[in-house]
Symmetry: C2
Subunit: 630 residues, 2 copies
């Protein structure tokens, strides 16, 4: 099989148990059906990871999947999907990361790297084009992520290498540990814990190949269209370049949906003047970092100049981190958010889950469910940023109560009991992002149904946040019509981006209306496989179906597509959206519409045979039937 | 003028006021008289920096001087001297650094870089072989040293560049701020403050030239001798490679000269089992770092695995840091020493001065001279490592009391008054290293007379610490004969190493007996200038003379060659050397002998015309005469 252009055509497989290293051809049909990135990664996961395996055991696999646009001359597409069964949710675990590592993996000649088994001793993988080594990492075990990258580049004597690695949290299998490359994270779902369970400290890669273009004229045309659209965007350069995702803080507060105090307070917490995007820009930003070849450079370098957190610097904090370590924990001292963000990066912790878990513990403490003694003496009150920062470390190192909280809100609540599950703000085990979905219903539906659990990244309903009219305008408070919108957001807005991959921010702010045409043009001109915009959309849908099938096979069904009780029983207590709720009836109505639009079984929430066969996934339909699902 | 081999022959001069960049030839005569490194740097300082200039003003110059051995195939010589008038002492400021930067500067084609003037806005210098740019550094101002290196490599898109930079402490002109390159420091004398006063954040360098060898056969012969001597050393690989300088902790405690509690306690403080080199190796070491091409790799990567300082990692702590943040502050919790070490590196602070200054403040607090209010509420007691760590940050950022302590013990005592000068453990303003000189008299004499002030690096009397018989055995407690020994240590053991440069540790542990022959062989085979071992020694002596002349010109004289009162009035209170002291009479006796051996004026301590002329420094003698010194 011959691959051109955007595909390298090679899958690198490293078995850490047997130390066997092998290369195989990427299947051409897979490449067209699933495009790349999350799609190709999840297909491998579905096909190769058997049901019910322990996510932290050797049977789980950790897949790094780039995609056809990666390494090309196009901007905003040099990303990778990291895929495994999630130790936090037991669903598909998938998270994307940018930075420089993904392009480097492509330049080394690979569309994906599949890590299997479990090393006996701590190791790292060194990929130098075609040469692959499994090397001893005992000298790097325990080291934080930025030092790890430096030490490993030093050890391989290749400063141009890029390194993806875990920190102490991944080593200790904190269930929401992330993987860090450069200053970017494959943040959610505990993929760092999977890496830690395999005793894989890091992957270093240096590649010297080039991505070829099959149809230069068409590619350049697409490139021009993309740059034009980016330039014309009223938001991308004027605001997003300067503010990063933190610019959404103001908007969420204005709408009254910036979830606060473990979702018990009105969504207008957090004085904009102290933690909003404008404040971050004005008082803390000193420069900007970027992913490979990105002209937008949204990675705002924010820096604490004085006070107890002086010296902390981060490319962030993002909107979600401002939520998790700000409004959620009632902390309005931005330097502490910056410090927590940096510490999470250094320890290798997902910032959303970490902050939400701490807010959960704060509420349990204030409710009297956890005593100060149980918190090892820490006076963990809402608003106490010192206690918050201290808890980040205890979680990363699983010290004392940190060991319990390292399990995530769902498992911790199960262990603690005493009604604590009411305060565990997660869906399927994944801690919730910062948009209060009681005031943004399609957003809520996507949280409830995303294959990764409570994840804003898998179907972000931007129409409800910024009134964007693509594919059409909606009333954020309406229940009706949200199933259809959610499907579009999941299939097009998200999955297509996850597969190419393409930056979801640039998608939203510059190309949403022309995305399918434009991305199919990029895809075609790079790979030589011409697929229509409709086929691109279909690929996005296919990914959501095979991922759903994976989850069904793991035992998930309609009953899991739900919210924490707080969302369904307690209305937003104040602010412009005071009184908003998503009760059981409303949720069911949205779900019915959603399954209908998706062609999924309304009783079980499983993809129907008809839908699967329509998507060319007959083998999946057959397997679900064998398992009597649905 | 044609230079061969080990000299590049080019001096790069960057005037930050005028933005003028120029290159000039290294003077051949200078190159032979002063060899390189500290020698060449101090000659520039003497010739170009007028008496009495403000060390933090634009008339001071900051000189980075490599040397003839740097960048060659020889190991343990890839170092640089950084030279300026010191803002801490007003004497010659000189400190050496290893790592990778010095060799890279040489590969770029320069024997020295002289930075003059003062930039209007914050800048960094980017040296790419012959291309030099002065670039805007406002986006890096405030950033800690490791991040700075990464950000700058990112900005110039050259991961192979090496970066020397300052942290927040240098920017804020803490008088003992250092310059960091990689994980190495030009640590002492406040050279980072000089860099900060020039608004120079960093120097990035990438070089692609090669150092040629004039006489390959002779060079290889010298190389073999060096490697053989290193291999045969009973200490170098068996102990030093594994333990680093921390191995000296045990020895100093055994001898009873590990200065403790601001020099008020017996020199046996600090339980060896918790902070000694063996403990550091056993419980904290996870790997090793090295300077360019060094097979010894003494940079012990020590790492805190758990507890409040979990995650801190450093290539150290060195012996001196174990003293300053350990015995001096009565802290026997090694993780706090590791944390303080890393923080000093990140902030860009000299670890010795910082710890000594904090110990000074601790004593003032316990003596009631500084109140808790004056310490901004900090309960800064001996042994309280949390308060110690907090104070490191306050000094780096000049917060509250930190602003005063950032001036160093000498100036702080002058401002505080109330008898506090008794507790200020410095010589000429430079805070004292960890060897209690009351029990090692030649060591003491070198502190008292070194051109840099209380500096163990400028005449380390290893004969008194490890009973080494080179050039001869001595009784560490004797007063007699120490003048001669001190001269040898300053001229040969130290200055020759400072000029080639060559690693003083490897000198001590492997080549002391053959050093002059070996280094003259390296020098000759690399440069083609054949100078005898005697001439090499003479060059070392020349450096100490011109440096002394610089200090004399600044107003220093015999009365400044002294100790803090505590050393001369309080005997060691316990341990094996209980009762030892260096009183005024003993000091004077040693000084008389020292000046005699040096050919210096006994009344003023200034070099005599005869000595200066003998060393080819007639112009120096003339200038001193013009200034009526002596």
């Amino acid at each position: 099989m011959v691959f051109n252009g955007g595909y390298m055509g090679q899958i690198l497989r490293v078995d850490l148990t047997t130390k066997k290293i092998s290369k195989e051809e990427l299947d051409e049909k897979s490449a067209q059906m699933f495009i790349g990135g999350a799609g190709v990664g999840i297909e491998f996961l579905y096909n190769e990871v058997k049901p019910k395996v322990d996510p932290l055991g050797p049977e789980n696999k950790l897949i790094f999947s780039v995609g056809p646009l990666v390494g090309s001359m196009a901007p905003c597409c040099h990303r990778m999907a990291v895929v495994a069964k999630s130790p936090l949710t037991n669903t598909v675990g998938m998270a994307l990361s940018g930075g420089d590592f993904p392009a480097e993996l492509k330049f080394a000649g690979y569309d994906a790297l599949i890590v299997e088994g479990e090393a006996k001793n701590q190791v790292y993988i060194w990929i130098h084009d075609g040469e692959i080594e499994i090397r001893d990492a005992t000298g790097f075990w325990g080291v934080q992520t930025l030092d790890t990258q430096l030490f490993i580049k030093d050890a391989i004597n290749e400063p141009r290498a890029k390194v993806a690695c875990i920190g102490p949290a991944g080593e200790k299998m904190v269930r929401y540990a992330c993987i860090i490359n450069e200053r970017r994270a494959a943040g959610r779902m505990g993929l760092g814990a999977v890496m830690g369970s395999k005793k894989l400290k890091a992957i270093a890669v240096r590649g010297t190949n080039k991505v070829k273009c099959t149809d230069e004229t068409k590619f350049k045309e697409a490139l021009r269209e993309l740059y034009d659209a980016m330039k014309e965007s009223p938001v991308l350069y004027p605001a997003f370049s300067k503010l990063g995702t933190a610019m959404v803080v103001e908007r969420a507060i204005e709408l009254g949906i910036f979830a606060a105090k473990n979702w018990s307070a009105t969504g207008v917490f957090a004085p904009v003047e102290s933690i909003g995007g404008e404040a971050q820009e004005k008082y803390y930003t000193i420069g900007r970092g970027a992913c490979y070849q990105c002209p937008v450079r949204c990675g705002q370098r924010r820096y604490v100049k004085s006070g107890p957190y002086a010296g902390f610097i981060t490319e962030g904090p993002e909107f979600e981190t401002t939520y998790s370590f700000g409004s959620m924990t009632c902390n309005n001292y931005l330097p502490a958010i910056i410090a927590a963000d940096r510490l999470c990066d250094e320890y290798g912790l997902d910032t959303i889950s970490t902050g939400v878990v701490i807010a959960f513990a704060m509420e349990l403490y204030e409710q009297g469910i956890l005593s100060r003694e149980e918190l090892d003496g820490l006076d963990l009150r809402f608003g106490d940023h010192e206690a918050m920062i201290e808890m980040v470390r205890r979680i990363a190192y699983r010290e004392g109560i940190g060991d319990l909280l390292a399990e995530g809100t769902k498992r911790a609540a199960e262990i603690i009991g005493k009604g604590s599950e009411r305060y565990a703000m997660h869906i399927k085990g994944l801690e919730l992002p910062g948009y209060d979905v009681r005031g943004a219903k399609a957003h809520g539906l996507s949280y409830a149904t995303a294959y990764t659990g409570g994840d804003h990244g898998r179907g972000y309903a931007i129409q409800e946040i910024f009134d964007t009219p693509v594919p059409y305008s909606v009333d954020r408070l309406a229940i009706e019509g949200k199933g259809k919108l959610c499907k579009w957001n999941q299939d097009v807005r998200t999955s297509v981006c996850d597969c190419m991959p393409f930056c979801a921010f640039v998608f939203d702010m510059a190309i949403a209306e022309i995305a399918l045409e434009l991305l199919s043009k990029f895809y075609g001109s790079l790979t030589g496989f011409n697929i229509t915009p409709e086929e691109v959309e279909k690929a996005g849908e296919r990914v959501n179906n095979i991922a759903r099938a994976f989850n069904v096979r793991e035992g998930f069904s309609r009953v899991d597509d739900t919210f924490p009780k707080r969302i369904m029983e307690e209305p937003i207590p104040g602010g412009p959206l005071k009184g908003q709720i998503i009760n059981t009836g409303q949720l069911n109505k949205m779900l019915d519409e959603y399954y209908e639009v998706r062609g999924w079984d309304k009783r079980t929430g499983a993809p129907s045979r008809k839908k699967l066969e329509e998507l060319g996934l007959k083998h999946v339909a057959d397997e679900l039937a064998r398992l009597r699902k649905p």
